[in-house]
Structure formats: C-alpha cells, structure tokens
Symmetry: C2
Subunit: 252 residues, 2 copies
Amino acid sequence: MGAKLIERASSIERRNGVSLWRQIADKILQGIASGDFTENAALPPEVALAERYGVNRHTVRSAIAALVQEGVLKAEQGRGTFVLSRKRLSYPIGARTRFSSGLQGQTTERHIALLSSSTEPASRRIAEALSIARGSSVIRLETRGEADGHPVSRATTWFDAKRFAGIETAMAETGSITASLMRFGINDYLRRSTVLSARHADADDLVDLELQPGAIVLVTIAINVTMDGQPIQFAESRFPAERVELKLSAGD
Amino acid sequence: MGAKLIERASSIERRNGVSLWRQIADKILQGIASGDFTENAALPPEVALAERYGVNRHTVRSAIAALVQEGVLKAEQGRGTFVLSRKRLSYPIGARTRFSSGLQGQTTERHIALLSSSTEPASRRIAEALSIARGSSVIRLETRGEADGHPVSRATTWFDAKRFAGIETAMAETGSITASLMRFGINDYLRRSTVLSARHADADDLVDLELQPGAIVLVTIAINVTMDGQPIQFAESRFPAERVELKLSAGD
DNA sequence: TATAGTTGTCTATATCAATAGACAAGTCAT
DNA sequence: ATGACTTGTCTATTGATATAGACAACTATA
C-alpha cells in the first residue's frame, strides 16, 4: 500500500460508526504492511502517535491494546512498543490460481483444512454456475487455508454431487483441491471468472480467520472449469485484508 | 454477493470498535447488492429487522437513517422504507482494463474527471515501477471516475514527466487516459500487474467518493506497460466497495 | 546515580451507542 | 370509520468511547 505516499493530513473520522481506536489500529496495520513501521522496530511513542492522529493518548493505547491482543505488537514498559508481524501475504489470482503453489516462497508451510462438508440441493445461483439443474444435489465444502499456522483464507466451495461423489474424503486426505480433483480424472483446470468485493468480517469470519472484530475481509467468487470449459467448482473465498493482498496475474 | 446463501445465524458482533448500526447498515447494503432486498420494494419493517439482527428497533433506525442520508433508502411514515439504489457496478479488471469501455452497458454516461495534477520527484516505489531514476520528475494526476453522475473510482496515477510532458492537459480535455496516451503515440497498452487490497475509507475518500464514514474501499495498485513491455503508468485506485465490485477477466 | 523518555494505572468527566417502553402520526384495507 | 400496521418522536437508563490530567513503574544512557 502506498499509504505514506498518498496519506494526506486528515485520515481520521469521528462519529462514523467506527470507533477511533479501531480506525487507528487499522492505520497502524496499514503502516506495518506498507513498510511505514518497520518490522521488529519500535513504534513511535504513544504521545507522538496521539499527536499524529489528533487523538488522546488513551485512545492510541486502546488501539495498541487491540493489536497486542491480536499478536501484531508487543509493548514493553519503559522501552517501547514493537512490531512483531510480517508483511501481508501476496496471494496470486489468475487463470491458474492454486492455493499451495501460489504462496511458494512466502511461507514454509501451507495447506487447506477441511472444516466440514455437506450435501444439499443446488440453489439457483449455484445451479447456474455449475450448469446443472436447480435442486440437484451438490457437495458443499467449508475449508480454511493456513500458512505457517495462521489462517489466510476461508472458503465455501460447491461441486456437482453426481460427478464428484466422495470428494470430501479426498479433500480431507490430501488437503488439496488440485490433488482431489485428480482423483476424478481432472489433471488440469482453469479459472473462468472471479468477482471481487470487500466487507466487514462477520462473526463467523472472526472465529474462522482469528480476526479482531471490525476487521475487513476480501471476498472472491469464482468458477473453475475444465480445459474444455466445463464448470466443475463454484467457490466463495474470504481473505483477511490485514494479512493478505491479492495479486492479479495477467494471462497464466 | 452470495450473502443469502452463506449467511448463517450470528453475523453481528458487539464491542468491536464498529457500532451495531454501522454493521447493520452494511448488512442492508449487502442485501440490496445481492438481491436479498429488491429494488423499489419495501424493506422489512423495523421491528422485523430488529428481531432478525437481534438488536433494538432504535438501532435499526440508526442504520436506516444513515442509508437514507446516503440516498440508498427512502422512508415514508406509515408506509414503509424503500430501496432506491441499484446494484453494484461490476468493474472489469484484466490485461486490457479500460475505464470507459469496461462499464459499457451498465451505465449510460461515464467519464474521468481530473481533480488536480502536479509534478514531483519520483519516490523509490514509483521510480521502480516506472523503471526510471529515483528522484527524476514524475507527473501525478488525481482523478475521479464517474458513472451516471455518481463517483465510482478515485485514482492517483503517475507518469514519467519527461516522456509524457503535458499529459495533464490532455486528460483535462479528453477525460480519458486511453485518449491522452494516444497523443503520445501510444495506441495500445497492457496491464502488467495489479495488487488488490481493502481498507476503511479515510477522510479524503469520504469526500471524493461521497461515502458515509465507516465505508470500505477496494484498493488496486497497477502498472500499465506498452505492448513491448515498457512501463508507462503507475496507479493506485480506490473503489467504494458498496457500489462497485471488481470482475477479473481471465486473459484479455 | 541522576535524568529523560517510555509504558502502565488511576480518577474524573462528557459524549456516543444501545436498550427499553410508550405513544403520536401516517397509510392502507376492510 | 375502524383497526392493523407502519414510521416518527420522546424520555430514561446503561455501558462503551474519548478526553484530560496526574503519577507510578520501568529502561536506557549520560
């Protein structure tokens, strides 16, 4: 984020429905992600931050307390407050979006955990996306992507139950969508469409992604297709905006 | 957004730093965008909404008041509260991202307004992106994209001042980046990279995009290049998440 | 060992956010 | 006209948010 470059005077809003301490916590997170506040270095002292944002020192302390709770900062009496966390992960999105390979080089460990699965009738929306009859059976998987032990994504995906019967056990065993699809004879697939939006994290996101209330999530809705254009997977994924950014790769 | 599909019981969080009325206003906006609340139709009555979200009627009223202020809803005593606004614009992003052509069919009128321009030395970040020497002169344009009279994007873009001297007047005259670049002999260009994130709108965003405090903006950081790979433009764009979603087109 | 600079704790006060209940005012169908 | 249903307004109370000031506790360094 080019926060430093673009940041102008104001930046903090009152009586918004968003508390000042929450806004300032967001600013600090942005500052860390943008390299404005360097990793392992001390934050400016509380009084300086208070002046910078035009609020009381106690308000800054509330923001810092939230981030300490969250494990982003560490406060040491007499010394200062220090940045613990790393920059945001950059998650590539394109025609060949894959979870595991996409994060290569940025993390040492990554996998997808299957939280739950169920079979249900296809809603209109899902039937259209998968090109199947409305009301026909689909398998829904609830999954969480983890990198180095931290949750980085939370997805709900649907498959045609007829074609992919038992994919939930494959997911549980392999921890990979790509590997699971291989068991069904699909060695390669493409992303046909991705629609992107953002919203506040709801209560479920907070739990699943280990977020603090008020956090923002990026939401993608995607359809994956086989090489000959047959839709196989419909997915809605949520990413914590404070820990992940999406990098759109052009063609492949 | 598949809110209806995915929405589970909980969804509202307390003592978060985000007020309940703000969260509920967000929910209603989501509901409108997802077709959950139909356009021109009445919202459920306040008591019903209050029960649905597990809050007091007055809290719902605060949320509605904010959206009435914003022009999304219209309340009529004795009759009900009605949805005015349309669905979100779907803004395509891909190798050939163009403002005007991308919104074709969704709006009748669209253009880019030049808010201000300046010349400044290139920061490290911008010098790298444009492959020029750090500190050399760059032109910065502040622009706002408008569709049917409503702001839908707010961008800061940088060009090499040497190569694109006077581009600010071209922009002011043509209201189009594509047309302006043509004056400099660039008939076609591609998007090399796009990085995507989200955050709360800051005070400037609120003014420029005519948002209510607490709103969320999608942020893209992009580099455009000529057909032979020479970088020509570096841009940070902000989109109001409540009015715009980004649709990633695959290759072209 | 001072001293400056930092975080931590306490008290007090004012405003905002949320709940609760009651009733007024308007619309619509019967 | 009546009654059911809706939004609008008012009062009261509680807890969270934000400001203000003072001082304690701790760290580093001169």
